[in-house]
Symmetry: D2
Subunit: 240 residues, 4 copies
């Protein structure tokens, strides 16, 4: 049995142990079992991410938080990042794409290449999100994400703790079983800052050109890459 | 007499020779006297820049055009860049800031540091605009810009051709003596694409967090870094 | 118990299990338990490294090998690297220091700064070896090294498998209990190419300015940083 | 007439004016006419380069000197660089190749690829010398080199001042008309440090794997890329 197989089995064991745990319990467990400096929260500044940052800051202020600045975010995303910085008095690490890669992409295919093909869109996600993410994850044993089961058709099987096949480390989703309503309640109760665009009809927020408002009743992630099939709507951060 | 002094004298001589020339005449002269590959247009995607790109494309399609993607532009700026790419069927070179420098700045001072002090603002301009600009200018003998005399209090003495002290090369401003109205007329007549935000009250457009709409009668550049003194409102690209 | 503590305990358990194993048995075990792509050999092109590369190539040709080109190696090191490439018909990955870091160091302190103080020497090792090594180790669960117990006063407690505190992954030293004579016999028997400088009195070979020949009977690593105390003679790759 | 044509004509005029000038007169003229910060000496640490650095230091200590550390130099080259640093109490700027480019080259073609084909050799020179040189020359109007007419079959027409077609700036060769003997006399008289390998039969010194000693009576540059035709023996720094 290889190390990875063993780790996957450990993760299955942990899934059983953590079954029914609250988000805070999951985080307390994770921040105890994974060593400081080898676990971080990855925040996309969404509702769920803000909930988790608040929980993490209460449980273990030493746990780092990073976010990916793709160079194409809404100004409202930067404003929220600033609010977070001021509230929690702790720097959120920002990863930015390599200039050479962006210059080559935009120079060759223009600044809006992602609208033309799924391949182009994934190339853009790779340069602006995945490569910087890899730098952030290097040296970590686990990362904490804000995935929830009822967010999207692509996320129905998300678990509290998973083996992340794509990046080769453990992934913790403390809110896997929470509803959007529970998240909203948490931020109200704890005065957690949230993205200004949520109020304007954007439930899930990514890059500005690839995100739009959705109508009531539409799938939460239907405003992301709205011109693509529902099945392809992941940027590569959360592959199955 | 040093080489630079000599070049400055040559520039003064050129100023006399070019006095009264039309923008097209200035460009024809510049694209004949400066060798291919050693002169480029620097476009900020403003009204004047679009006018010049159209003129340049007619006179000498070989002349390169570059723009600075600071990572904080309006989506409308990217859309215009895409329109330009499709119209002129030629890539506009894009310069993007170094990831390490942006990560250090934002990690330390947050994403909106420029609002807190003039020093911070200039640091952000330096990392996102000046350093990439220097890469673009390296190896050039001249750059073509869209400065006009009546744009701002800081631009009243702009000339058709100047020695650029800050970057050490010749600067061509073919529209130095044109009015905004003349630019508008040109784009109407030649169906040149323009920035969508002009219609929404933004006469001068830079980074999203540092640009706002102005009221009728206000100075054209009053929407740039609106919280600063009028005298300090240059990003360093066009120092006197 | 944290993950790292658990891993350390696993390593202790492995130490017991592997006690008395031959180098080949250790490697067979390691290449089975650690997943392809997550274990690599780190070669400094020394006698021990060449032995291990030969064993690794026989057991699992998929296992990658990397070496650190510090920019200050002996030409004989490059010649051996080339011989290895031709013999095993497989690329050895080469890591090279970041140009900016080397330019800053040499520009400020000159090219031979390491002779002036221990601090300088460690700074040079950090830029030319440790930083590139970190890039090589990112994403690995284990690395295979050529440490032997009787190489030096600093290596007397080396084990077949260890938890590498400095870099946070498992370290495999298949030759921990071999003598130099056993290594020499192996390369003779298997026609493994070895460093040309071994024949000229260099038992341990690093960067050219920091390595010299030793006299018979001197400690094997006494030719490395010969002006320093025996206790400080590690470059940071193999910290205790 | 374009700017470059005009510059070439100016250079021809300068050639006439400088005819018969001593190296010091050429340097005095160059350091007066080209502005500080826009002219540098490029030193390969050869006999001629050391002569020029000494002259430059006497005439204008502000004039910068740079050298290219290819990552494959002789230790004796670094030792001379250190002697120079101590003697002239001024840093010599060092340019180092980009790690990514070296890693890709060596990873794919091995560390000694240059022996296999002229194309390979030029690729190696490009990565280790030409690209770093371009960074050094960016922003300069002139560079000072140590070329002499009788150095090689490829250098018979070298002049005191030339237009450098390859890199687009003026090239000053103050020693164009000096003999090797004159250089030797100068260093003796002024106690200028010289490369230790000159005494071992190396008249022209480049990268360690591409330089060898020559026999008495052989062409001075016959020890550089000795396996190639005499006509191809330039690395690209000094193209005609």
């Amino acid at each position: 049995m290889t190390i990875i197989t063993e780790r996957k089995e450990t993760v299955l064991k942990w899934q059983e142990e953590l079954a029914g745990s609250s988000p805070e319990e999951v985080l307390e467990w994770a921040l105890k079992i994974f060593d400081t400096g080898r676990i971080m929260q990855s925040s996309s500044l969404g509702l769920e991410d803000m909930v988790i940052t608040d929980m993490v800051r209460r449980i273990s202020p030493d746990c780092g938080v990073f976010t990916l600045d793709t160079g194409r975010l809404f100004q409202e995303s930067y404003d929220l990042l600033e609010e977070a910085r001021l509230k929690w008095k702790t720097p959120i690490q920002v990863l930015f794409p390599e200039s050479g890669a962006v210059e080559a992409l935009v120079g060759e295919k223009g600044p809006n290449s992602f609208y033309y093909s799924l391949e182009n869109r994934k190339e853009c996600c790779r340069i602006r999100k995945i490569e910087p993410l890899k730098r952030a994850l290097s040296g970590l044993d686990a990362w904490i994400c804000g995935l929830r089961r009822d967010q999207s058709v692509t996320r129905g099987t998300v678990d509290l703790v998973e083996w992340d096949e794509a990046f080769g480390l453990v992934k913790i989703n403390p809110l896997a079983f929470w509803s959007e309503e529970q998240c909203r309640e948490y931020v109200r109760e704890h005065s957690v800052p949230v993205h200004a665009l949520h109020r304007k009809g954007f439930p899930s927020i990514g890059c500005a050109p690839c995100t739009r408002a959705v109508r009531d009743g539409e799938d939460i992630r239907s405003g992301r890459w709205w011109w693509e099939n529902p099945e392809s709507k992941e940027c590569g951060l959360h592959k199955k």
